[in-house]
């Protein structure tokens, strides 16, 4: 055929766009205000695309379970985990994390889990929301 793409292109005309318009159909001018409106029930949030099973998101840390063995520090490729010698606990800097889940795999007492949370944008890389301890 001379132009083999034509049938495919024609069929595309009758398909809906695949884009998920998260968080709203039109980008809000003020995200903070928009989120406040969502909280107050004034605006509706279009949910993000679901994460796959075993997604590697923000780290969850069970402080009580941790025995301070420092194995996670040894395997962390990005130096995102710091040891607090006085408490024998660790601190995770999410701004450095590369989400490989290696600390989760190596932990002997399973006190580290990867959650589904992926909205981690922050202006300050040492903001409290980006530090897990």
């Amino acid at each position: 055929m001379r132009f083999a793409m034509i049938p495919t292109l024609m069929s595309q005309l009758f398909k809906k766009p695949h884009t998920n318009k998260f968080p709203a159909k039109y980008a809000p001018a003020n995200t903070t205000q928009f989120l406040a409106d969502v909280g107050a029930g004034k605006a509706k949030l279009i949910p993000p695309v679901e994460v796959p099973p075993k997604f590697r998101g923000k780290i969850q840390y069970d402080r009580e379970k941790c025995i301070g063995c420092q194995l996670c520090i040894k395997v962390c490729p990005t130096d995102a985990i710091q040891f607090k010698p006085d408490q024998k606990k660790v601190k995770f800097l999410m701004a450095r994390c590369c989400f490989c889940s290696q600390c989760n795999d190596v932990c002997p007492v399973n006190c580290i889990q990867m959650s589904d949370e992926f909205l981690l944008a922050e202006a300050d890389k040492y903001a409290p929301s980006l530090i897990v301890e």
Binding site: M1, R2, F3, A4, M5, T8, L9, H18, P52, P53, K54, F55, R56, L71, K74, V75, C76, P77, T78, C98, F99, C100, S101, Q102, D105, V106, P108
Partner: protein
Amino acid sequence: MSKQLSTTTYQIPIGPIHPALKEPVQFEFTIDGERIVDVDVSLGHVHRTIEWTGMRRNPIQILYLAERICGICSYCHPMAFALAVERIANIEVPLRAQYLRVIHAELERICSHVLWAGVAAHEIGFDSLLFFTWQIREKVLDLTEYLTGNRVTKAITMIGGVRRDITSDMLPTIKEGLDFLKENFEKLRHAFLDDKTVKLRAQGAGILTKEDALKLCAVGPTTRASGVKKDVRIDQPYFAFGDLDFDYVTPDVLTGEVNGDVYDRIIVRLLEVKQSIDLIEQCLKDMPEGEIVAEPKIAKLLASLKKVEGEAIGQMEAPRGEVIHYVKMTGQEHPYCWKVRAPTYNNILPWIPMLLGNQIADIPIVAASTDPCMSCTNRVTVIENNKTQVFSKEELHRLSIEKTRRLQR
């Protein structure tokens, strides 16, 4: 210099390229009118010290560093490193892990080749085809995400195996994804190989003869498109490739002849996508039960890797060709030496015979046909009669589209 410029030939330097690239390169073209009469390539503009950084980390940490050498080959780099370390430490990889490794390798190949096909379509100004191919790629990425947890940085490699198993409840989703691919592969093949526009621009452009491909050590689909039967998966089988049924993909499988032009490279890559789908299906069928990693206790694995001494090479057929990782361990926590040779390095010199005799408007498609990262055409400077003119990537792209339009008329 000025004497030469006042005659019919002039120079176009392209590059050095975008720092995000794995292999930065600078071209210097000598142009006679529209025709390229000489090409000079120089390498080594950006150095990210990945190997140096790796030599200060333990092998487990290097896996994730190697994953970041290239975004598209985020599986074959850590895997080639793991192969080298396994060879040094004499780690026997369980059979099930060998099959799982093949599945992930082939999934990456499909993803890379489909991405390349889209880029090639874009380079000749066929953007509707770009969006169609990337629509298919999106499905492959969804499948990758389903199997590994993330779309690009898969973090699936572990020394002595893989990190995630494919359980029986995952099989229907994988089958659905593969069926979608098979269904759309026919459409893709039809759009690329039967369309007049693609033929006009790709046939006869950027010819690499078999002799040149052998002489310049081209690797991967670039060399197979010139009729050289070279594929690490068959020549030196690793993983479970030795047990699987497949053959070299050369363009004569489809057309009965080898021209070594851009069109042949499109044929090879498209046929390899089909081959990869077939290989994944074979693996899912033949995969035995068992362990997925040789040593599940990572602390124990690290302690044993600390003691090993020796050197080894890990070779793998990455989507772009053979990738080689050389590792030397001297009984310390970190390797004594780590050297990476990515496939694009071998495919740079073949650019010279490919580009000679072509037109400026052919540079994007011919250079893209070996599947390098194409940001190198970000800025081109033309010096003609001491007047400097800067060609942006957009302008080169516009020239390329104009040539397509001209040929269609």
